[in-house]
Amino acid sequence: MQKPFIKGLSHGIPICLGYFSVSFGFGILAVKSGLQAIDAILISLTNLTSAGQAAGVGIIAAAGTLIEMAATQFVINLRYSLMGLTLSQKLSDKFTTIHRLIASFGITDEIFAVAVSQKEKLVPTYMYGLILISASGWVGGTAAGAIAGLALPASLTAAMGIMLYGMFIAIIIPAARSCKKDLIVICLAAAFSAVFKYLLPMVSFGFAIIISALLAAVIGAILFPINVAETEGEEE
């Protein structure tokens, strides 16, 4: 049996690599926007989120208000509330309040995706391993990008942009392959998301994701309610 902490670390390796490449871009963006490298690193260390940080740097560069900053972060990151709620249903008894307070810092799209796809209940040490390696990739990439980013060939940094999405595909495609209901929900969510992108571009990225995902999941729940006894069996 692998120790949960080690297991978390190893499950986080693709996230770490993907984060490094994405936050590398964030580091470059932050410095280009007039921030010091140390500010960019501090933002990555305390926020651990891609879209919210990019928007935040934009607000700082434009000398926006703190209210605007708070409202923007709220909308873009609101999806984490939904993820936190979903994860709260999968926690083992070892997850006491203090562990919840610490681990909630590390709820990101990718960490959520990996954690929620685990068959067994989540223990704190597993989450800490997963968060630690992912966050080090995120902060390390930011530092590298902010300090040395402009030196790499553009063709390489451009191609690195696809890595995180490749990871998402590695999670959803096997589910879609083995279960038609999952496939339909996945296709619905992608279709709604495309509608927002091409027909309703005034809706912000954060809201578009929340609305698309909720609509697809609610339609899935109405058309194909899951067998409750079945999922409880899976969790054991």
Binding site: L48, F105, G166, I172, A221
Partner: protein, 99 residues
């Protein structure tokens, strides 16, 4: 406005959004409908985030589409996350060199 205040507000709002539901919600959800929604949410969120954004992830739609197709094929055969992610990146990079 001081940089420290900006970063504190960003970090504070982002943390509270994550912390409140994760820490305060203790009940086991009984409703079959809510359980079904929560079951579908992860796949729906990832799919909505990936499509169509993945096609714009590499600065060039052609390299992004090639990377996407490679990722879908490898994921269909259930290869590990890291392999799928790195192969998608390599496919996009190599395509960029050719075209």
């Amino acid at each position: 406005m001081s940089m420290f205040l900006y970063i504190a507000v960003m970090a504070g709002v982002t943390y509270l959004i994550r912390m409140i539901p994760f820490t305060l919600f203790r009940k086991k959800i009984k409703s079959r409908f809510i359980q079904s929604v929560l079951y579908y949410i992860p796949y729906a969120v990832l799919s909505a985030m990936t499509f169509p954004a993945i096609f714009y992830s590499t600065d060039n739609t052609v390299t992004a589409v090639v990377g996407t197709v490679i990722a879908i094929i490898l994921a269909y055969f259930k290869l590990p996350l890291t392999v799928v992610a790195i192969s998608a990146c390599a496919a996009a990079f190599i395509t960029g060199l050719i075209i």
